[in-house]
């Protein structure tokens, strides 16, 4: 009886999950495998499922000669500056939406949600024209502005959920202890909010890091490419060096991978914050 139950459980749950897991992980494995092979081995038939002989040459070439170091730096600058603005504004908007009573608050919430219904692609041309008039085309500043604008509503709503979970009594207690409102926010609310801030920052960072369309449209100088655009540009019309492309993809994955590993628990908290009272 028990064996039958186990078997049924295995067939109905573990087997499908394992198949999905393989399906999800296979591209990662294949990219890593390709990035560690010599160029001559990549397309060799029969296919090699392990990089033997193994080489790091693709990584060295991609980083030094193709200029991935520079693209990596560009992506990092854009993402970090955008994340700084996104988190700062998200805290302020989230705080105002949680703690203050003002006219049009519901409307503002509605508008914030509405922004999420508009696909970014629809706004590409107007944005391009605006940035062109401002002289921001081929300027990383255009990406910082675009990312901050597009990421802010979602992250502000997320932050609102976190702030709602900080009892107002604690702020009032701080005010009785001698803080003004700003001091209460800095000394008490922000430290309590830290997991939420980390979660929001991680969401924002990953979205900025992976963004492709805006970066492709607004940046035309190759030395200002971000990583997604650089990866795209590596696909030539007649020739694709799969080894470099795979190595570039692996490099691009490292920051989000590390971030997810570190902030995983906060991300889950962030998604569920405010949904259940407690």
């Amino acid at each position: 009886m028990k064996i039958e139950q186990r078997l049924r459980r295995c067939l109905s749950l573990h087997l499908p999950l394992s198949i999905i897991l393989i399906f999800v992980l296979f591209p990662f494995y294949w990219t890593l495998n390709t990035s560690l092979k010599f160029e001559r081995d990549i397309m060799k038939v029969p296919l090699k499922y392990l990089p033997n002989p193994m080489t790091f040459q693709n990584f060295i070439e991609t980083w030094n000669n193709i200029g991935f170091g520079r693209y990596f730096r560009n992506s990092l600058i854009v993402a970090l500056i955008a994340v700084f603005f996104i988190v700062t504004f998200a805290v302020l908007v989230g705080y105002a939406l949680t703690r203050f009573r003002f006219k049009g608050k519901q409307l503002m919430m509605f508008l914030l949600l509405c922004t999420q219904f508009v696909p970014g692609v629809m706004l590409l041309i107007p944005l391009f024209i605006i940035f062109k008039k401002l002289g921001l085309i081929s300027n990383l500043g255009s990406l910082v502005i675009a990312y901050t604008t597009f990421q802010l509503p979602f992250n502000a709503i997320l932050m609102r959920g976190f702030i709602q979970n900080v009892p107002y009594d604690i702020e009032e207690a701080a005010m009785m202890d001698g803080c003004n409102r700003l001091q209460a926010i800095f000394h008490v609310v922000l430290p309590i909010l830290l997991p939420g801030i980390i979660a929001t920052a991680a969401f924002a960072f990953i979205s900025c890091w992976n963004e492709f369309i805006f970066a492709l449209m607004f940046i035309s100088r190759s030395d200002l490419y971000t990583i997604p655009v650089a990866l795209h540009s590596m696909q030539g019309e007649y020739d694709i060096n799969y080894g470099y492309l795979a190595a570039g993809s692996i490099i691009a994955m490292i920051p989000p991978f590390l971030m997810f590993a570190y902030v995983q628990k906060y991300l889950v908290q962030g998604l569920s914050a405010g949904s259940v009272k407690g």
């Binding site: 009032e172 207690a173 005010m175 009785m176 001698g178 803080c179 001091q183």
Partner: protein
């Protein structure tokens, strides 16, 4: 240490809700005053106005000689203990208590002295390096008290500080707060909806309802001489019994007639009651003022025979839920009473402790 004065204070919320309505009160220096009343009576709002956490719509509040209407909470020199403790979760107990002093830039040695002294008074010396989440409810409450004590403020404000504790701990902490007041000799304003807390702790009680002060007085004064039906019913457990009757002249003597039975009004009180002759009144009597006929010597005409519906044994005493005609009432008698459920029992109303209220205004006549 300072007195607190409410001078024609109003608090109106948007939507026309009047939470506090023309509040006038003087709380003396070093006095322990308890605001008591049901939910929504305006007691917490009044406290928050003293704290500066709620704006005053009209009127003035003075702490000491200073009108504090426009003074920020941090500058009022008061400390508050919140219902849910409101400890800073990211700080340990020591820093929770020291936070207010650090903000006021006290020297380190002074902060250390005060925190350790307060911790000693409250018996939490061994918890100073713990975070609030590692404390029990009672310990958190002590830390919240400690945070207030170290500041040595002019006035302590306490907003239902015991309501999150279990019954046993509540009784224990109740006594400790009273002891603390004796020791610190600071003005305390304490808000509670629990009339037992109000009776046991306060030098004076302020009973509130719908934003209006119903009565201010010493606990026993309020218990013995309630101003109106609300105060009479709110203070005391089990609550005072109220029976609708009519004042009648019975051969030259005034009585309250309940149709099924009559209760004599003491001659000394005729003067106040005569104007209510043949008018409906509310007769009030506390459960302990209904005595078993066997235990007292009274005239047979004063004995009321009622049916015992339910008995509730409380240990040292027993509550008899009785009914007679359309009326029902509770008597609190000795636990050795022979009263039994469903049987008739002979009781006497102690007329010297009776209360009469105007049926319309609900104000006390006697």
């Amino acid at each position: 240490m300072a007195k607190v004065v409410f001078e024609h204070v109003y608090k109106r919320f948007s939507g026309g809700v009047v939470a506090v309505n023309d509040m006038n009160l003087e709380i003396k220096d070093k006095e322990f005053v308890v605001f008591v009343g049901p939910s929504g009576c305006g007691k917490t709002t009044s406290l928050r106005m003293v704290a500066g956490l709620e704006e005053i719509s009209e009127g003035n509040i003075y702490i000491g000689e200073t009108c504090v209407n426009n003074v920020a909470p941090k500058d009022r020199d008061i400390a508050m203990v919140f219902q849910n403790y409101a400890l800073y979760p990211h700080m340990d107990v020591y820093n929770n208590m020291a936070f207010g002093l650090k903000l006021r830039k006290f020297p380190k040695s002074e902060i250390d002295r005060r925190v350790k002294e307060a911790a000693k008074i409250l018996g939490i010396e061994n918890l100073l390096d713990r975070k609030p989440k590692a404390l029990s409810g009672g310990q958190r409450q002590r830390v919240a008290l400690g945070r207030a004590i170290v500041r040595e403020p002019k006035v302590f404000l306490m907003d239902e500080p015991l309501s999150n504790l279990d019954a046993k701990l509540r009784v224990q902490t109740r006594a400790e707060i009273s002891k603390l007041h004796n020791r610190l000799q600071t003005t305390i304003i304490y808000v509670t909806h629990d009339q037992v807390e109000a009776m046991t702790m306060g030098d004076r009680i302020v009973v509130m309802r719908d934003g209006i002060i119903q009565q201010v007085g010493a606990p026993l004064e309020i218990y013995d001489h309630p101003n109106n039906v609300f105060v009479a019913g709110f203070i005391g457990t089990p609550p005072m019994n109220f029976l609708d009757g009519v004042v009648k002249d019975d051969n030259g003597k005034l009585v309250v007639d309940f149709e099924a039975f009559k209760v004599r009004i003491p001659e000394g009180k005729f003067k106040n009651v005569r104007q209510y002759l043949n008018k409906p009144v509310i007769f009030g009597i506390r459960p302990e003022s209904i005595l078993e006929a066997e235990t007292v010597r009274v005239a047979e005409e004063d004995v009321v025979v009622a049916t015992v519906d339910v008995t509730e044994l409380m240990g040292s005493e027993i509550y008899l839920y009785m009914s007679l005609g359309n009326h029902s009432f509770i008597a609190r008698v000795d636990s050795h009473s022979k009263a039994k459920d469903g049987e008739q029992h002979r009781v006497v109303f102690d007329i010297n402790k009776m209360h009469l209220f105007d049926k319309e205004t609900e104000k006390a006549i006697l």
